[in-house]
């Protein structure tokens, strides 16, 4: 049986705010996340007619 954890909207916003403070001074972490987002954007440009998500989900 699955163990379910629920996170309410209020809690999400609170944790998100704490996280943003946490990484505000962490340039390496910000750069790492930016690099992932850029890779996702590059993937979209590279495969405009075959979105990566569809391919991945079909194989999974």
């Amino acid at each position: 049986m699955a163990q379910l954890i629920f996170v309410s909207a209020t809690q999400v916003r609170e944790l998100q705010a704490r996280y943003e403070k946490l990484i505000a001074t962490d340039a390496a972490e910000q750069a790492r996340l930016r690099a992932i987002e850029e890779r996702l954007r590059a993937e979209e440009k590279r495969q405009p007619e075959n979105p990566a998500g569809k391919e991945s989900e079909a194989k999974a």
């Binding site: 699955a2 163990q3 954890i5 909207a9 999400v12 704490r18 979209e44 991945s56």
Partner: protein, 178 residues
């Protein structure tokens, strides 16, 4: 009610990008593995499970010996990320609203009696769970804060409070948009 898959991430397919189209939200999602191991695991050294087995069965092994001490995370926040075994899941809904929810269903396989995982959202600890030997499913239901918000979930491998640890494997995560 039937739920349609929003995204699926596995070690073999660690990234999903699906642009939004009219009436259908899009998604960006990825999984990363922070997998510090003290041993030369799974390669030519012949330790098991071999890399070949992990690849063929589609999971990533997190070994027990290098699991983090149970009490190393202070103030409710995951620490020592670079020196830990962490499965990092990130996803972003596109053309969604704060009336949506995200359900992440995570598949883990515990190899032994003493496998524990610490689940965190935005690095803040939600819960620490002891896994049963064999297959385990964790489900995290998250209210969507706003359109295009990135959500970051971490699964950190920790030892039992008494210092024991057995290993587990990450098999995959399936996301649903509610």
């Amino acid at each position: 009610m039937t739920l349609e898959t929003f995204y699926t991430l596995t070690p073999q397919h660690p990234m999903v990008k699906r642009p939004a189209v009219p009436d259908t939200p899009g998604v960006n999602a990825f999984v990363n593995f922070w997998n510090m191991a003290a041993l030369a695991w799974g390669g030519a050294g012949g330790t098991t499970p071999t890399l070949e087995k992990q690849l063929s069965e589609g999971w990533v092994y997190l070994s027990g010996g290098t699991a983090a001490p149970f009490d190393e995370d202070a103030n409710g926040v995951l620490c020592n990320r670079e020196r830990s075994q962490i499965v990092e899941i990130g996803f972003q809904g596109i053309n969604v609203t704060d009336r949506n929810q995200f359900l992440a269903v995570i598949g883990l396989h515990a190899l032994g009696e003493n496998a524990m995982v610490r689940i965190a959202l935005f690095r803040n600890i939600l819960r620490t769970e002891r896994l049963r030997p064999g297959d385990n499913t964790l489900a995290v239901l998250i209210d969507c804060p706003y359109d295009r918000a990135w959500i970051y979930l971490d699964l950190k491998h920790v030892k039992m409070p008494d210092g024991n640890a057995s290993a587990f494997g990450f098999k995959g995560v399936t996301g649903y948009l509610l």
